[in-house]
């Protein structure tokens, strides 16, 4: 994974060493992308594991005794849910690190991870309700996991909505970091309280969602974790690099801005003093 600690260019570069590269060096039009050798290897591994997942999940593993073939949705659903939580956790850690270090890499990682987590939240909800239809006879049931996933999705949507606001970047990063840091306690509380709430009423559905997993099914689930995990990492790496590019493209070239600002003095002092 990319290491955000190496990206310690601050929003207000200290001047000396960085003054050398003028914005003309931005070389607009230079083709480029967010790929690297490592991310390409990761991508190939991810694609390979997806092929393996299709084979294990759809062909080689048997149908469940009780749920028949609908159990095959589990090989996506459960790993996607896990990596949705992983994404939230990364966002919270990166937010905490941003509050400590104030380096833009951590802010970029927090935002990237929340967005990827939202994609996996959508997959979790979609596969969950598609799985629920044949199992429970309804697309939506107030099952603890579905409900807390839905609430978590709204938490992520709110976090990303705050990040998208067009306001002063430092203010936005500060607010987003506090909100991102609160994500983990919020997720835990929402999860636990919903679980507790639902378990008072319908213990049975919970059991029904947990088929006895063994043999080929267990292998398929493990392959699911591997494939979804690789896809998650690949997406996170690329989304992080996009966020980094966004930061760089908006980054203030302080020396250029200062030169422009000082040039105003030449234009205005002559005219501006007249009304005195």
């Amino acid at each position: 994974m990319t290491s955000p600690t190496s990206t310690t260019v601050s929003g207000t570069p200290s001047g000396d060493g960085r003054a050398a590269h003028t914005p003309a060096a931005a070389a607009p039009g230079t083709p480029g992308h967010t790929g690297s050798r490592a991310s390409r290897v990761l991508g190939i591994l991810a694609l390979g594991s997806i092929v393996l997942l299709v084979l294990y999940g759809l062909v080689w593993s048997p149908a469940d005794a009780e749920m028949a073939d609908s159990v095959r949705l589990m090989y996506i659903h459960v790993p996607a849910a896990s990596f949705m939580y992983t994404g939230c956790f990364i966002t919270a850690v990166a937010s905490a690190m941003w509050l400590r270090r104030r380096t833009p890499g951590w802010d970029a990682l927090a935002g990237a991870s929340a967005e990827v987590a939202l994609v996996f939240a959508a997959i979790t909800l979609g596969t969950g309700s598609l799985w629920g239809r044949p199992t429970w006879g309804t697309y939506w049931t107030w099952d603890a996991r579905l409900t807390s996933t839905a609430l978590l999705t709204t938490l992520l949507v709110g976090y990303l909505a705050l990040r998208r606001l067009d306001v002063d970047p430092t203010a936005r990063s500060t607010r987003a970091a506090v909100l991102g840091l609160l994500l983990v306690p919020n997720v835990i509380i929402v999860n636990r309280s919903v679980e507790w709430w639902r378990s008072l009423h319908q213990r049975s559905t919970l059991v029904k969602l947990d088929p006895t997993i063994e043999g080929q099914m267990l292998v398929a689930l493990m392959v699911g974790f591997l494939a979804i995990g690789l896809v998650f990492t690949w997406l996170l790496v690329h989304r992080f690099r996009v966020a980094w590019l966004e930061y760089q493209s908006e980054r203030l070239d302080l020396d250029l801005a200062l030169a422009e600002r000082r040039a105003e003095a030449g234009r205005t002092t002559g005219a501006g003093e007249a009304p005195a």
Partner: protein, 222 residues
């Protein structure tokens, strides 16, 4: 910190008293919500009475959104933000003071809504101890969470619309806990309700601490 908290709480409550927005607008609005529930659910007394706890706390949350938004607006203008930073008030104290003021306003609204539920929905009160404790814990939790999230969106142009999106999912556990506790109390089985009180108290402490720690960062960072 406590001196600063008392000072800020006194100021916020005085602003509330002088402006009368709570008494003239928020309180009638929350009663209106209770009446709208009756329209939506067909005023079949049995149904309303059975759902009373949930409807009550939903109405409280709507009223709380308004109260929190009002509280955030007090410290929102540029001049006040600067003056707060220049004053040397402890940010944690400011947070505690604002949350305390919101809690007092909420308690007044809850009392009013409680009377409304008893009169309009025909609820028979029971389990007073549990109701009071759960109500207090839930109020503090809502006030602390709301003040923290109010500071997160304060000063933004989209504050009015962003606040509910951010705050309501976080308050969902409070709604669950407070409703279950009230249901248990009204059903005469308070033993089922006390664990939920524990949850509410935990939430109150957690968000109060988080807010006290984060308020300075939010005040400086924008």
């Amino acid at each position: 910190m406590w001196r600063d908290a008392a000072l800020v709480a006194g100021r916020d409550l005085r602003v509330e008293l002088r402006s009368r927005v709570t008494t003239n607008q928020v309180a009638p609005f929350s009663l209106l919500v209770l009446i709208l529930f009756a329209f939506a659910l067909d005023p079949d007394r049995q149904l309303l009475e059975r759902l009373a706890s949930g409807l009550y706390w939903t109405a409280v949350l709507f009223a709380a959104l308004l109260a929190i938004s009002r509280s955030a607006a007090i410290d929102e203008t540029d001049g006040v933000r600067d003056a707060l930073r220049l004053s040397g008030l402890d940010p944690a104290g400011v947070f505690v003071g604002k949350a305390a003021a919101v809690a007092v306003v909420l308690l007044a609204l809850e009392l009013l809504l409680g009377v409304g539920v008893v009169v309009l929905y025909g609820v028979e009160l029971a389990g007073a101890g549990l109701v009071v404790v759960a109500g207090l814990a839930a109020t503090v939790a809502v006030a602390a969470t709301g003040t923290l999230y109010g500071a997160l969106v304060s000063g933004l142009r989209v504050r009015e619309t962003l606040l509910p999106l951010l705050l309501l999912p976080v308050l969902a556990p409070v709604l669950i806990g407070a409703t279950r506790a009230f249901e248990a109390a009204l059903a005469g089985v308070p033993a089922d309700g006390w664990p939920w009180c524990g949850l509410l108290a935990g939430l109150a402490v957690l968000y109060a601490v988080a807010g006290a720690l984060a308020y300075g960062t939010l005040l400086e960072g924008s």
